[in-house]
């Protein structure tokens, strides 16, 4: 569904991505693992276009989308749940969610998608009229994911969704991600530092280090390879 080949990008004069390549197959959970500051978030941002690619190629559903502006990519069904909770804190939960349905296509299906989000996260329906800023960390993360769902994506990229959450909530977030995959049939590209939990949920895993892909394979193989675990994941 998504293919990234020899991608290069960075900020100002600093190159962050040194030609990583990866593929996300339709209907799978693909995970990108690695420690802090190796370019995982940059890769997601470059795929979506909020960071400009310097070189390489991004193919989405057999179309070259390397230079497409972000909003066009969102129209095509790619979305990103950014790192940290980028919520509109002054608005209510429901307003936040509806903001997600900005593009024309998404707006048409606004009510159905909202129902879907509420069925996934019943707690958000209860809190619909509350200011998003007053929610707990875990609930805010649900709103961010819910808002991304409102864009009617086919591919959803999540940037460290478990970051800063209590251990109990981390499990819940991963359950949610699996649900998105099995129940709604979304394809997922998941960036994480929490390797342990990720290896359980993902189908295929890529390991990133210093802007390059260092290893890849089915999640269970990576989980069993003690070399890889020790060298890159520290577990």
């Amino acid at each position: 569904m998504l293919r990234v080949e020899n991608l290069e990008s960075g900020y100002g004069p600093m190159q962050v991505l040194w030609q990583p390549s990866l593929e996300v197959k339709k209907g799978t959970i693909t995970s990108l693992l690695g420690p802090n500051g190796v370019g995982k978030s940059t890769l997601l941002r470059t795929v979506l276009g909020s960071v400009e690619p310097w070189g390489g190629e991004i193919t989405y559903e057999e179309m070259n989308v390397t230079r497409l502006p972000t909003h066009k990519k969102v129209d095509m069904g790619i979305t990103l749940v950014p790192e940290g909770k980028h919520l509109f804190v002054g608005m209510t939960v429901q307003e936040n969610l509806i903001m997600g349905a900005y593009r024309k296509e998404a707006l048409k299906h606004k009510d159905e998608t909202l129902e879907l989000v509420y069925s996934l996260f019943p707690v958000l329906k209860e809190r619909g009229k509350q200011a998003a800023g007053s929610l707990s960390g875990g609930e805010q993360q649900m709103v961010t994911i819910g808002r991304a769902l409102m864009t009617k994506p086919k591919l959803i990229m999540l940037d460290e969704p478990s970051q800063g959450l209590a251990p109990k909530l981390v499990g819940e977030v991963f359950e949610t991600i699996e649900k998105l995959n099995t129940e709604i049939g979304l394809t997922i590209l998941l960036v994480e530092q929490n390797a342990e939990a990720c290896l359980k949920s993902a189908d295929h895993v890529y390991i990133m280090h210093e802007g390059r892909i260092k290893a890849e394979g089915p999640a269970d193989e990576i989980a069993e390879s003690s070399d890889i675990r020790e060298a890159y994941l520290g577990i």
Partner: protein, 280 residues
């Protein structure tokens, strides 16, 4: 409405005054234009401020938040020295077009224009600005601008073309600044001197007014303007010369205690009640 503070605002007003001044002085020889000359001047003011907005925006809008504000401070001074140094449009001598006004409209009409009609025009422009803002707020543009103001990264992943909406907001603001310059300054005085029309002071006043009233609201600037105007007037009577000294701490207090301004505060109070619809 984007949460971007434009310290170059006055530059657009300045360019607007030049638009009007140039329109009148260059076209005064075409007889029979009559009051159409003013309309041409207003159009020129709009076109010129739009062009400046495009030029400035292409560079400055790539910057975010505070960096944008810093970059725009220079626009105003830079443009003023460009006009003075390169002797564009008479350079530092400015343009005095009292004579041309009288020639074009006759003495009586010209004086009515600068005393009465200029003020009427300002009110019309303000009403127009309010109308456009209201229209933006109630449409998809407002929705996009709100997202942009609250969290630019989130706006991007929602599929909002942030560059487009920043440019729309920037140009809209520039056009109204240009019109205001043309009406409130050019027609009223009627002369244009670079150091006076590119006075950064006005931008600062405008920002104070917005802060007092509440940024991102429609009524905010109106209420802020009233508070500012009235208190400035009375301060000038009670403690002449000390207005600015007193205003500075007041502004700091407001920013700390009521960062959302008068209207922002009211809005929070009435949230969920029937009044909510009227506080915009």
């Amino acid at each position: 409405m984007t949460g971007y503070v434009d310290f170059g605002y006055v530059a657009f007003m300045g360019v607007g005054t030049y638009g009007m001044a140039l329109g009148i002085t260059r076209l005064v020889h075409f007889k029979g234009l009559g009051i159409g000359l003013i309309i041409i001047g207003l159009c020129l003011a709009m076109v010129m401020s739009t062009l400046l907005a495009l030029a400035v925006g292409a560079v400055a809008l790539r910057l975010r938040g505070a960096y944008f504000a810093i970059a725009t401070i220079g626009v105003n001074e830079g443009f003023r020295y460009l006009i003075e140094g390169a002797k564009i449009w008479n350079g530092s001598e400015g343009i005095i077009f009292m004579g041309q006004m009288n020639e074009a409209f006759g003495d009586e009409v010209a004086s009515a224009l600068s005393t009465f009609w200029a003020d009427v025009l300002v009110v019309i422009i303000a009403a127009l600005a309010a109308f456009v803002t209201l229209h933006y707020m109630r449409s998809k543009i407002g929705y996009a601008l709100t997202a942009l103001r609250e969290d630019e990264d989130a706006a991007k992943v929602m599929g909002i073309n942030v560059t487009k909406f920043k440019i729309i907001a920037f140009i809209t603001s520039a056009i109204f600044a240009g019109l205001l310059g043309a009406a409130a300054w050019a027609i009223k005085t009627p002369y244009v001197f670079p150091p006076e029309v590119f006075e950064i002071h006005y931008t600062v006043e405008a920002i104070i007014i917005v802060l007092l009233g509440g940024a991102g609201t429609l009524l905010g600037p109106v209420v802020g303007g009233l508070i500012y105007g009235i208190s400035k007037y009375f301060l000038a009577i009670i403690l002449p010369g000390f207005q600015l000294l007193i205003f500075a701490p007041i502004i700091i207090i407001i920013i700390v205690l009521f960062p959302e301004g008068t209207i922002g505060m009211l809005k929070n109070r009435v949230r969920g009640t029937a009044l909510e619809r009227y506080i915009v």
